[in-house]
Amino acid sequence: MSAPIIDVRNIEKYFYTPEELKALNRVSCTVDPGEVVVIIGPSGSGKSTFLRCLNRLEYADAGEIIIDGVNILDPKCNINAIRAEVGMVFQSFNLFPHKTVLENLTMAQMTVRGRSKKEAEDKAMVLLKKVGIADKFAAKPDQLSGGQQQRVAIARSLAMNPKIMLFDEPTSALDPEMVGEVLDVMKTLAREGMTMVVVTHEMGFAREVADRVLFMDKGEILEQGPPSHFFTNPVHERTKEFLSQIL
């Protein structure tokens, strides 16, 4: 058994809005290389916050987060180098609207990885072909549909050759008929052995692709296990209640 690529130990996160809110309460979890972990839970359960802590978009207030052997909560760590290895896909795509699709994919490759323009564009075209929108390389993001934008966003993260991919509700802002095309890309990635942590409400995806499902509520991981077990024999009362609401 190889060492976990993500090792989270007892992290806590508080929000002050302005009254104190404990978003994460001593959460611990590990993810092995090549594992696909799906996090589900009701809104406000802290699942997005947990995901955003993994590449320090939110700075956890206590605990340790060790990504590929580096504690990212250590102020002296080079967070930019870590983030280059951890791709992130957002609910709202967050493509750069002033750049073309191709430039969206090449920008970080050139500035962070120091690749030449030619190299970066070749890599970008390969990935655009992979996600099925190579013909739109010259378009601006707002000329694309939601599903196409999200696939560009996935390709943009993949262009950095990340070791881990984080997905923050990648299909929640999409029209129902576009959800499938994005999930297909994610399934392909999972099959290829990418380490993925996915926050989603797509139970079908979780059941089909996940190696492990985490259920979070009120800032804590209440239950986890392989999908076969998780969806058929939940142990915790809250899990049962949640599953009965959505299934």
Binding site: N55, L57, N80, A81, R83, A84, E85, V86, G87, M88, F90, S92, N94, L95, F96, P97, H98, M107, A108, T111, V112, A153, R156, S157, M160
Partner: protein
């Protein structure tokens, strides 16, 4: 009328005709009343006196420098080359043939007029306009640089950057521009020029104190515009850029600022139009920009109505051009 986008239902064709005509009528009425009023106070309009303050024909007298005899006049195609042979020295001048006053063999003393020629020169109003243009351009360039830097400092984490920016912005926005111009000229200017004089260096002309006063004044407002522009870019853009591994400076330069600058062009245009107009205050520190030039012309011509109207039109010309230029940039940026 399917292209109608208002919320109150389409208007009839007559609606636009009637109100358009009313607008034109109102405009003519205002001008007519103004003219009538000037007749009542017995003002004599003399628009023909205005052009000389734009361009005028200057007569230059050509005088001798040495004592001697005109030894030779060589005429070629309207120009005459006059050679004066003095005691062991010689000089020659070129004069238009028809303006030649002396002939061959005449004896001249230093300072005698050999002849005259005429040439066109730009008038005081154009000089003032050009100076206003120069001061405004310099102040806009410095203003953008100061504003960009201060705007970024204003939202920085570092307390010295942020507090310095806040103190600068509050002080500059909280005091009148005229007072600031006096401070730059009479306090900063005196100190700097006195020190330069002590070290035997040449003085800084008032123009630069004027430019600095305007640039620093505009920079404070520009900084707030830049800050608002940066903060108007969705948070997710910064998160996306940083999650790809870019550092703060790279994300700011490549992702945030290009989007922010596009949005702040309209308020920036307003700010720079203000700056062009505010440059009219610089007359108080003896910079002869357009307004000061106009005041001098009014004093000598005694035609205040025409000259001040012309002055206003010249400012309009500058600000309108600037406004068009920024609109062009805006269209290009989209």
């Amino acid at each position: 009328m399917s292209s109608y986008t208002g919320l109150d239902g389409p208007k009839s064709k007559h609606y636009y005709r009637i109100w358009g005509a009313t607008f034109l009528f109102g405009l003519c009425l205002a001008m007519g009343l103004l003219y009538y009023a000037t007749i009542q106070v017995e003002y004599t309009w003399r628009w023909n006196r205005v052009p000389q303050y734009f361009f005028y024909e200057n007569t230059v007298e050509i005088r001798t420098n040495i004592e001697g005899e005109i030894s030779n006049i060589q005429k070629t195609s309207g120009q005459a080359t006059v050679t004066i042979q003095g005691n062991g020295e010689e000089e020659s001048h070129i004069i238009p043939v028809q303006n030649l006053l002396l002939g061959q063999g005449d004896y001249v003393y230093p300072g005698d007029t050999l002849g005259t020629y005429k040439h066109w020169k730009i008038g005081i109003l154009i000089e003032g306009l050009l100076l206003t243009l120069e001061v405004s351009c310099l102040a806009i360039i410095f203003g953008i640089l100061i504003g960009l830097f201060t705007g970024l400092a204003r939202i920085a984490d570092n307390p010295i950057l942020r507090w310095s920016a806040i103190v600068y912005i509050e002080i500059i926005r909280g005091s009148p521009l005229l007072v600031q111009i006096f401070l730059w000229y009479f306090v900063v200017g005196t100190v700097i020029n006195t020190m330069l004089a002590q070290y035997g260096l040449s003085q800084v002309p008032p123009l630069w104190f004027g430019v600095m006063a305007l640039a620093i004044f505009t920079g404070a407002y520009t900084a707030e515009i830049v800050r608002a522009g940066i903060q108007s870019v969705h948070r997710g853009q910064m998160e996306a850029a940083r999650s790809l591994g870019m550092n703060y400076a790279q994300a700011m330069r490549k992702v945030i600022l290009p989007q922010a600058l596009r949005r702040i062009l309209p308020p920036l245009a307003g700010q720079f139009i203000s700056l062009v107009k505010d440059s009219s205050l610089l007359g108080v520190i003896s910079i002869r920009e357009l307004t000061k030039a106009t005041r001098e012309v009014v004093t000598s011509s005694l035609q205040p109505f025409e000259i001040w109207i012309v002055c206003a039109i010249l400012y309009l010309l500058l600000t309108f051009t600037l406004s068009m230029f920024v609109q062009y940039l805006e269209r290009k940026a989209i």
